[in-house]
Symmetry: D4
Subunit: 254 residues, 8 copies
Amino acid sequence: MDTEVKQILEAVQSGTLSVEEALLKIKKEPFLDLGFANIDFHRKVRQGVAEVIYGAGKTPEQIVAIANAMREKTADTIFITRMVSEKAQEVLKELPQMSYHETARIGILGEIPKPSGVGKVLVLTGGTSDIPVAEEAALTAEILGNEVVRHYDVGVAGLHRLLAHIDDIMEATVIIAIAGMEGALASVVGGMADCPVIAVPTSVGYGAAFEGMAALLSMLNSCASGVSVVNIDNGFGAGYMASQINHVTKKQGE
Amino acid sequence: MDTEVKQILEAVQSGTLSVEEALLKIKKEPFLDLGFANIDFHRKVRQGVAEVIYGAGKTPEQIVAIANAMREKTADTIFITRMVSEKAQEVLKELPQMSYHETARIGILGEIPKPSGVGKVLVLTGGTSDIPVAEEAALTAEILGNEVVRHYDVGVAGLHRLLAHIDDIMEATVIIAIAGMEGALASVVGGMADCPVIAVPTSVGYGAAFEGMAALLSMLNSCASGVSVVNIDNGFGAGYMASQINHVTKKQGE
Amino acid sequence: MDTEVKQILEAVQSGTLSVEEALLKIKKEPFLDLGFANIDFHRKVRQGVAEVIYGAGKTPEQIVAIANAMREKTADTIFITRMVSEKAQEVLKELPQMSYHETARIGILGEIPKPSGVGKVLVLTGGTSDIPVAEEAALTAEILGNEVVRHYDVGVAGLHRLLAHIDDIMEATVIIAIAGMEGALASVVGGMADCPVIAVPTSVGYGAAFEGMAALLSMLNSCASGVSVVNIDNGFGAGYMASQINHVTKKQGE
Amino acid sequence: MDTEVKQILEAVQSGTLSVEEALLKIKKEPFLDLGFANIDFHRKVRQGVAEVIYGAGKTPEQIVAIANAMREKTADTIFITRMVSEKAQEVLKELPQMSYHETARIGILGEIPKPSGVGKVLVLTGGTSDIPVAEEAALTAEILGNEVVRHYDVGVAGLHRLLAHIDDIMEATVIIAIAGMEGALASVVGGMADCPVIAVPTSVGYGAAFEGMAALLSMLNSCASGVSVVNIDNGFGAGYMASQINHVTKKQGE
Amino acid sequence: MDTEVKQILEAVQSGTLSVEEALLKIKKEPFLDLGFANIDFHRKVRQGVAEVIYGAGKTPEQIVAIANAMREKTADTIFITRMVSEKAQEVLKELPQMSYHETARIGILGEIPKPSGVGKVLVLTGGTSDIPVAEEAALTAEILGNEVVRHYDVGVAGLHRLLAHIDDIMEATVIIAIAGMEGALASVVGGMADCPVIAVPTSVGYGAAFEGMAALLSMLNSCASGVSVVNIDNGFGAGYMASQINHVTKKQGE
Amino acid sequence: MDTEVKQILEAVQSGTLSVEEALLKIKKEPFLDLGFANIDFHRKVRQGVAEVIYGAGKTPEQIVAIANAMREKTADTIFITRMVSEKAQEVLKELPQMSYHETARIGILGEIPKPSGVGKVLVLTGGTSDIPVAEEAALTAEILGNEVVRHYDVGVAGLHRLLAHIDDIMEATVIIAIAGMEGALASVVGGMADCPVIAVPTSVGYGAAFEGMAALLSMLNSCASGVSVVNIDNGFGAGYMASQINHVTKKQGE
Amino acid sequence: MDTEVKQILEAVQSGTLSVEEALLKIKKEPFLDLGFANIDFHRKVRQGVAEVIYGAGKTPEQIVAIANAMREKTADTIFITRMVSEKAQEVLKELPQMSYHETARIGILGEIPKPSGVGKVLVLTGGTSDIPVAEEAALTAEILGNEVVRHYDVGVAGLHRLLAHIDDIMEATVIIAIAGMEGALASVVGGMADCPVIAVPTSVGYGAAFEGMAALLSMLNSCASGVSVVNIDNGFGAGYMASQINHVTKKQGE
Amino acid sequence: MDTEVKQILEAVQSGTLSVEEALLKIKKEPFLDLGFANIDFHRKVRQGVAEVIYGAGKTPEQIVAIANAMREKTADTIFITRMVSEKAQEVLKELPQMSYHETARIGILGEIPKPSGVGKVLVLTGGTSDIPVAEEAALTAEILGNEVVRHYDVGVAGLHRLLAHIDDIMEATVIIAIAGMEGALASVVGGMADCPVIAVPTSVGYGAAFEGMAALLSMLNSCASGVSVVNIDNGFGAGYMASQINHVTKKQGE
């Protein structure tokens, strides 16, 4: 910022810039000249992650156009989330090389990279109805370069099912605990594990489940330490967060 | 009802009652003559339980007056719930024979009867802050003639603490699971036990616990079968319900 | 647990196990060796109940597969809840021996057993729109071995309709009170009965009924003792809880 | 309005008013000239009710000043609502002729008039904690010229207590049903009575009573016809509404 | 139905009916069991109003069956509320004499009686979208024997539209104020009128209207005295309550 | 419409119109009764803006009828909001001169006027899904005589996108900030700008977005000064408010 | 602060200040680190308003320290909001020149400037309890250079009180409508005025007012155009927004 | 505690401890029953962190007793959270070696260890009122072995304050973003950073902030990826989670 303001001041001093014009230029300083313009490029350089397109609320045409524009600028893997089957069929007509994962509602352009994280991401669900959210989380983590272990339908009402996987729980680097209804899975897993747990409430349930509100509140109030929460049904967010945790040292190594 | 209406009709027939008067009398029938007048007495005969006075919102004077009135009519044990320490001290001046249990906020006039239920009532809490509600439940159950087993601070974040009591869980006739925060205790216990579980959400917690709302919703959405819920902090209600369950066969034996 | 830890220690002592390996083994102890592994088997032996499949959110193919897997392992009656008519028609193609109860949305494989409980389960509804939930509760209780008495449309706005059944209310071992709108049925019945009352709020109503929220809150705040509540529209949960209460002595008798 | 606009137009025609001035005057017409200025006076003439001062949020000085100003303009009875005891003591120093009713939190200047309504106003409460709201309602109705019958603590958990007053319920012209907790009283009374029922939810209760929310929702969803609801704890509003209903024919007779 | 019981009594008085036969007739009165609904005929003894069938949640077959059963017992007008057009077409095939009012969603069997109330019921709406609820209220009031005046789309954002009807507001015996969105109509009318005002919030609006919640809360908090509220969209309830108020003296005159 | 009343007045002044005829013309102004809607023409006297018809909840026939009635009375531009495509196609059959803007769901009869405001209205959105609401706001402002600058998809998660438009933010007279999900755009823009900011929460998002509730609360709690909020998805309201702000001096100039 | 930067620039232009010294002076501008608060002086460059300190949650010592730091940098008026009386007394010991306005809870250091806005800001309240919020709004607007007109206690339940001020409503440049309870004032004023209306819900009321929630929802759903809303009780925000609207042309004039 | 068990094992290996003695020592590990709290020592076997005592809801005596029991078993640092100043003074009488941090409400027994994590934990707050929560988070992280960088009062309404710390944001391993009111800080930081962001809503604010609900919803709906949320005001939880993320590789290294 110094240089630029200095130049403005020198121009005022030399009379080539009026006081009024200089005042206007300086008014804009706080936002223009803190090195911020380079942030986005910076981010790209450091993260090197796959590119993501949020598919909900976009037409197939928009998705194809954005994907094509991205492919001109990068060789990275591109993936499209929240894309229901009908929409995917339309996109596939234009991008036949896309692989589509129906349960996860994710389309992928390019290869899923080799795992590059510290350890394993463990994805657990309370019931079978939580699987679509879990697949969104698991596939997101895989695309972002993580080894993923899945155990579904291990809810707390049948505790032995969960305890059967205690080795995986103990060995995980980060755990994604996905559950609807009362969402107790997060607390039980949080109490057993000694790694970060990302809790994902789902809208599974009825009545006083209030579209995931009960599970959300339950998870936010977890009596176990080391549990944090993302939005209801936000499998992508959990997978992304898990990947960031699992790559924490990567950044430091650069 | 027959007899009474018949008498009315006979009076009309005999001319001792006008049609208008008869019409008025019959209008009142649905509520007056279905054997209902005897219900309260009936209830007393069959239940034989201790008498309860709800102490919240009553002055010490009112409590003393009600208790004295009851004692003139019954030799049963009388107990006063939701009576804070200050109020109890005032009541004790007039009723020195009352025993006061501060944690449970309960005062008792008379003896705690011998257990008369089918089996044991097990009272569990998630944390130490839930103990006042638990004591209200446990003491209520004891006064109503139940053997009570207590295990406190066995929340799901330290699952082995709960598992350490698996024998008592398996042997209980009815379990009262008391927890604040995320209320996951009810689901975990409900999944382990094969007896009715009464869940009591407590107002323990802060922030998104919303004064017990999170635990309440969590318990209502329990993925375990055989769990039902009472109001937030309602230890008395849980103890009373547990006693009714534990005495189910008593009634049939009469 | 002693034995296993002892063996680990002996192996360390004898030099056949390194300290590091021993440390890892001991870390897993709290969950592996508290007798918990036997819980599920235990539960099966003691409960001997019919098997249930929660049909909502499962495809007809999944239901058939689960049912067939169960039938290979048990001769018990199997029932599928929350199965709408269209789904049932698909399942019936593969499992023609299934009997389907449309109002209750329940399919049954096998016989409904003879009543084995202490007494009678009484199922009451406030209105006619509550009947599907009531049938789910009643049929669940019957499949689990209970004698069930039904009285529907006996809401409190016409009190004499309810009072007409006062004998059944007095004789019941457990009552299921089902109502939407303001849910006052639970309190009135709770005040009349001297047995446990399980209240089921329903999503019947409109406007400020808020999909069952009004009835739920009303029932949780019941001024009558001996009332506990299950989730909105949860007929199955009420029937299951009622059965557990009605079989309380059975377990003790073994 | 005609006359005034006509005068404006005539002034324009005659040249004594410019078009611009006329335009401005006409702009204000819709609100100024619909006879509305006389409404307030009108209201006074027709209602002839006592004057009311809402005491909450006003200082003793403000209350005294307003009361004195009113007394200069009217000989009617004046009453002050929502005035807690401490405030009343201050007001009494300046207005020693005021009679103060502590339970109802109402102060009265002048006489309570003779009943002038069609029939009787019946005030019922579910519990003893509802009495302050009930007294506010009852006293308000009395001050406004109604005969009031009170029956307190007749909640639905002890139905025979309510049925004991069936004569008064049948004979009432309007009923005020006051209850906290689950608020079922309104529905039960609404189903028995054939007169308008005004339901008043109270903030009595705890936990899921949510400061009167449960009772409010319950009353709004009453399955009985002829029930309408006022704000939580709004005894004054119920008493005022009841008086208006009880004086319906008075107005027509004039 | 007074007439009916009176006729029975007169027959007994005159000796043309034996006491036993009369007893049997009267005993059958309170309930007429159709398997799915206990129709409350006894209520009519007390109230003498037209009969109402709540059409929502009932099949056309059920409506026809209930209506036919009613017609065998009474010559009164019968009306069916909350009956959408498709359902009405089905009912009309069996009951061609029914007149159907599509906007109000009400079907009527029999004549609309002459007005018998004290004065006029005024029905106001804030907007045009509130009209279906208003017609349900207005038609209900007419069927129950009231003269009704309607003024629609007179919301407070165009105050002069409301003020234009100030005469009708001043002359009404009872006013029904119907509005969605912010529901301010009730307060403004409540401040102008000197008769009871029944406020009906509607689910008209979007976003923070929360399906009528905003209007409901607004109306409950009305700063005007003499306003009470019914459930969201409950036109029938408002019309029924208005009729009860408008007939207050009738009952006393008997 | 000023023009119209002014013309009447001028005709009176010039003697070409009698006072009586003028009176009649002006009296007819405030109301034009179409049976279903009292169109408020008088408002135009004061405001002089284009006419708006709220299209939601109106049939195509009603829209055409209201539009035609308006056109007989005024030469101003008329626009219809919240008119979905299907409805617009029906209206176009009768009003082929209407131009329809599908994204904004607005139909326009007449010309969009030249900008007459103080400066520019800047419309910003957080994402692409907010564009329909933004177009409703922008087009509304344009029809009401404002120069509008649009920048869409400049949400705070990519701050540089927003900062790229800092010149437009600094130069705007009023800013409309539209965002769903967490609605943070309003606070960030409010902190940067020194002009009024109108925040519009949208129902974009899922789960804990609660149909716009999260964004609404966020915007109401903005830590930036100079931010006010309209209803969820209320693009029209924001555009209208912005126009009023942008024309503040206009009124004073008259 | 424009002046200050301008002076620096002028000094550079005239040669009395070197570029380096000027650069240093300007660099120090944006932040003044007091350890506990980064005071944003740079904002003033853009806005040129009086300085505000949000007093809630700050100790008297912190307030004094921030105020003194500000005074070293500027000669502008400084005002402290949300400062209760006790805190103000402490601050006055250190800053005796501060004038304190108790009702508005605002302290002022320096002169209230001459009005510099386009027209008048009109502040209206529904009741007397809303006055503290109104005074906060009004005084804020005055300090920021606006002429303010106040009319308090003009709620819609007594419409003539509001209509009595129709001239001020018609002449205002911007209106602040403040009300608790049902908040209808905003809609009624919005329908009458043709200038922007800023609605402020207050936490005045009880029961279903839910601490201002009812008024907030009501105002957000206003059926009148040209109404926007700020947070509950946010008088400062309304006054600030009003000032920005009233100065819209000022900025353009520079 | 790894050390402790390891020492036992090494003693067995070296023959200085018999198997039986070792078994007894290890068996005593998991539980230490103090009557009111089952302290979970076994957890330490897996996690090796400092010991934490949740101070809220515990008496000074209980805290001292638990702390002393812990100190007998471990040499690790012990810290007590949510301990207000008064309580801390009592505890200090018994444990004078405790250092007490008033803003963070944390007491520490033992040394704060050297940072052992991957990188730095950055703690940011929106305002000064958020500092207590921030200090709880920061101190927790420090006690658990993390280097912590603090920047407070950098809310989004003054964006340049936040941008001034862009280097720290870019270099952090994990960021804790703490804000009340609208909670927009999390989204803005989430969009700038390429590391995991833990968002902590605070109960700072008033009105529609609803005790932190607005910030909570805002953060859950963050449009930035890599943001997860803990309970309102849960500084400890955020610090703990951050530490786990910052030590992710540590565990793998073993």
